[in-house]
């Protein structure tokens, strides 16, 4: 595939954004006040920093997400050739998924998926 097409796409993309924002900057009426710069938080005045320490519970979800993320990577080439290879590919992927399903059951059983 043409990398030239990619370059063209890139340039056109940049061009569009530059044109759109500069037209808006030229013609739009402008007013500014401190409230406009506030992050919108359901009408409540935001206080403190947004970067605060999170609960450790999130990390377990992130790890489990990452593992299934890696699993998906292996299933992509499988999905591409599944139709061509037929039953063999299906059984192989089934074994793969069952083994990972055990992991999901384990996580479920250990209440790793429960929010506390």
């Amino acid at each position: 595939m043409g990398s030239s097409a990619l370059v063209l796409f890139f340039i056109v993309g940049v061009f569009f954004i530059v044109i759109a924002t500069s037209i808006a900057a030229l013609f739009a009426p402008r007013s500014s006040n401190p409230q406009k710069l506030d992050p919108w938080e359901c009408g409540i005045k935001p206080s403190g920093n947004a970067w605060i320490q999170f609960k450790i519970g999130y990390y377990l979800f992130a790890i489990i997400y990452l593992i299934f993320d890696v699993e998906v990577v292996f299933l992509v080439p499988w999905a591409v050739v599944m139709k061509k290879m037929g039953t063999v590919a299906f059984v192989e992927a089934l074994i793969f998924l069952v083994i990972l399903g055990i992991g999901l059951l384990y996580a479920w059983n250990k209440k790793a998926l429960k929010w506390e």
């Binding site: 370059v7 605060i52 320490q53 992130a62 061509k84 992991g103 996580a107 790793a112 506390e116």
Partner: protein, 168 residues
């Protein structure tokens, strides 16, 4: 020609954001700069038509690993604070080590005689899939299944470790 222009754009992005990632004094910003580095690396794979590798780069690295790093950063205390600047001594030492590392890498790269590969390395996702699921002589079905056991083991290990920390 187009590939070359794209390469230079992506290389600039990688260099600039890598530099920002290591010089940023706010750890959350450094993480986001790292995300851009990983995305641009995926772009490099796309240029050489290595679509599957680029997909992995986007899904696992830009998606998974960065999410994990963001969560890890969010768990630390004082994320919002600026990290102190390193002392001059640290800067000089780190600079010297970086220059030495870059020198070794560049000299090895320049000394190596790169040959254009003529054999099919299986860039195609379909080729990769066929090799992965083939149980014949050239197949990799055993590693494919072993990977699932490896993932299972890492998931159980993660849960065991994390759950024990919860109870304390």
């Amino acid at each position: 020609m187009g590939a070359q222009i794209m390469f230079y754009i992506l290389a600039t992005v990688i260099v600039v954001f890598s530099f920002l990632a290591v010089t940023s004094r706010k750890v959350m910003r450094a993480t986001v700069y790292l995300l851009f580095v990983l995305l641009a690396t995926a772009g490099l794979y796309f240029i050489i038509d290595y679509n599957f590798m680029a997909g992995i780069q986007l899904i696992v690295y830009a998606g998974g690993i960065v999410a994990l790093i963001v969560f890890a950063v969010m768990l630390t205390e004082k994320i919002g604070d600026k990290i102190e600047s390193p002392s001059n001594m640290q800067m000089i030492l780190a600079g010297l080590i970086s220059i030495a590392g870059a020198g070794v890498t560049i000299s090895v790269l320049l000394g190596h005689d790169f040959k254009q590969s003529t054999q099919n390395i299986g860039q195609n996702v379909a080729t990769i899939g066929e090799n992965l699921l083939n149980y014949g002589k050239d197949g990799y079905v055993l590693p494919f299944e072993v990977v699932s056991i490896l993932l299972l083991a890492s998931m159980i290990a993660a849960i065991v470790v994390a759950k024990r920390k919860f109870e304390n």
